[in-house]
């Protein structure tokens, strides 16, 4: 390793012996080594020329009124820093000085960025708010209405942590088959504003959901800085889908909260805001179904009543009924007529009784009956005289064939030795034919 030249430049060049020249690399490494103590430095300065590199790193210049130094943030550090430096802002940077030998340039390698003056930052924030206010960005009439029942909910948050879990749990507790589309975003650090803004734009392009929930679990003013950047605020304003913020319990509302369409604090609150309770909807629906059925039944029973009344009216007014009514009137007349006649008859009868006519009639009737009885007796006697028994008593007899019982009316009907039975006025004789004289 060459020792640094001790003499003047001219002397060194002239002797050429006591000091061997550095190679470039040797010198570069030497410079690098010399700079090594300049580590974990705090450097305060204003940012300009901020550029993002393709690999996620940033390069910019930190300056004060007289000097400047090139600065660099590696991609890994850029993701960790609480805020990304913006041109024109003064920050306090933590980092080290490094000499890049291959470029021959000196850089301040930043690993942490802090706001130099939170008060000043707040002032800038107030300025942003005033500007947005004058544009009408906070006006209630500008806010988009949340869908009553989204088909799906887009969630923009850190893919890890309790927020995503709480949101999902709340949404599915309220609405078991609700679709959820997660857009993982960085919610803090230098990359956060761009990450959130890009995801908001994608939500609107892809249209997989009807409402967006932008959530994180709260944090300090610095940690929440992304939600106060104009980049994120403009992306929310440009969104056609309504945006619900759930940025945790913070001392200040962020500008994102102010321009969002609904402001919640916790994931649970946001979940309840974007999704109705399915059970409530079903209950309301069934209540209406009951009303509908009741109305249909009521209407039909009312029409049935009207029909029944009309039927009754038709019956009342029909000619048949009128005829029936007239017939009834005629029957009534008939009944009255009979009643009147009976009355007359009984009056006549009473008159008859009073004049003794009744006894005369009865006597007359009795005489007629006695006369009839006498005539009947005479006829009876004549009938008795004509009966065979009375003839037999006078000495005649009836001869019958003993076998058949047939009456023998002439001798020719008999034959010798035929068994015969002879009926007398009293009793019978049995005999046998001795001879026939026909």
């Amino acid at each position: 390793m060459p020792t640094p030249p001790s003499g003047g430049l001219a002397a060194g060049l002239s002797t050429g012996e006591e000091a061997k020249p550095y190679t470039v690399t040797e010198l570069a490494n030497e410079i690098r080594r010399e700079l090594r103590p300049l580590t974990a430095l705090l450097l305060k300065g204003e940012v300009s020329g901020m550029k993002q590199g393709s690999k996620g790193h940033y390069s910019f210049v930190i300056r004060d009124s007289q000097s400047l130094i090139n600065a660099f943030i590696y991609a890994d550090d850029a993701r960790r820093v609480t805020t990304l430096p913006e041109d024109g802002q003064v920050f306090i940077f933590r980092g080290r000085v490094d000499y890049w030998t291959q470029y021959g340039s000196l850089r301040f390698i930043v690993d942490q960025v802090e706001f130099d003056d939170v008060g000043k930052l707040r002032a800038r924030l107030e300025e942003l708010k005033r500007r947005l206010e004058s544009e009408g960005a906070f006006a209630p009439e500008r806010k988009r209405r949340l869908p009553f029942l989204p088909r799906s909910v887009a969630i923009l948050t850190s893919p890890t942590g309790a927020v995503i879990h709480d949101l999902q749990e709340t949404i599915w507790d309220r609405y078991p088959n609700m679709g959820i589309v997660v857009y993982p975003v960085q919610v803090q650090g230098a990359g956060a504003p761009m990450s959130v803004a890009r995801a908001l734009r994608r939500c609107n392009q892809e249209r997989l959901a009807d409402v967006i929930v932008l959530a994180r679990g709260g944090g300090s003013f610095e940690e929440m800085y992304a939600f106060n950047t104009e980049l994120v605020v403009r992306a929310i304003l440009d969104s056609r889908l309504p945006v619900v913020t759930a940025l945790g319990h913070t001392s200040d509302r962020t500008v994102a909260d102010l321009v969002g369409d609904a402001e919640c604090r916790t994931p649970t609150e946001a979940g309840a805001r974007v999704v109705p309770k399915k059970a409530d909807l079903l209950a309301g629906l069934h209540e209406r179904q009951r009303r509908m059925e009741r109305e249909i039944n009521r209407r039909f029973s009312r029409e049935a009543d009207r029909l029944n009344r009309a039927q009754a009216d038709i019956a009342r007014l029909s000619p048949i009924r009128q005829l029936e009514r007239r017939e009834l009137a005629v029957r009534d007349l008939q009944r009255r007529m009979h009643a009147a006649l009976n009355l007359r008859l009984s009056v006549a009868q009473a008159t008859l009784t009073a004049t003794g006519g009744r006894e005369r009639i009865q006597r007359l009737l009795a005489n007629r009956l006695a006369d009839q009885a006498r005539r009947l007796e005479g006829q009876r006697r004549r009938l008795v005289a004509l009966s065979p028994d009375s003839v037999l008593t006078r000495g005649y007899s009836i001869t019958r064939d003993a076998a058949t019982g047939a009456i023998l009316r002439s001798a020719a009907e008999a034959r010798v030795d035929q068994g015969i039975s002879i009926q007398l006025g009293s009793g019978k004789l049995a005999g046998r034919v001795e001879g026939v004289e026909a």
Partner: protein
Amino acid sequence: MSDAELTYEQAMGRLEETLKRMESDKLTLDEAVKAAEDAQRYFRICVQRLEEARKKIEVRAEPETTE
């Protein structure tokens, strides 16, 4: 707007409006029958909309930047 385009809320609004008309007793019988049909249709749309959401988590990772 056709039935297919109705959201749950719109279908519910129409169901409620139809029910109010049915309850007002100002409809002719034909109108009442039509209203009852409409009410039933809106009711079915509401039920359908409640079931349409699909339980699914889809994670939309950021596409790789290709700068």
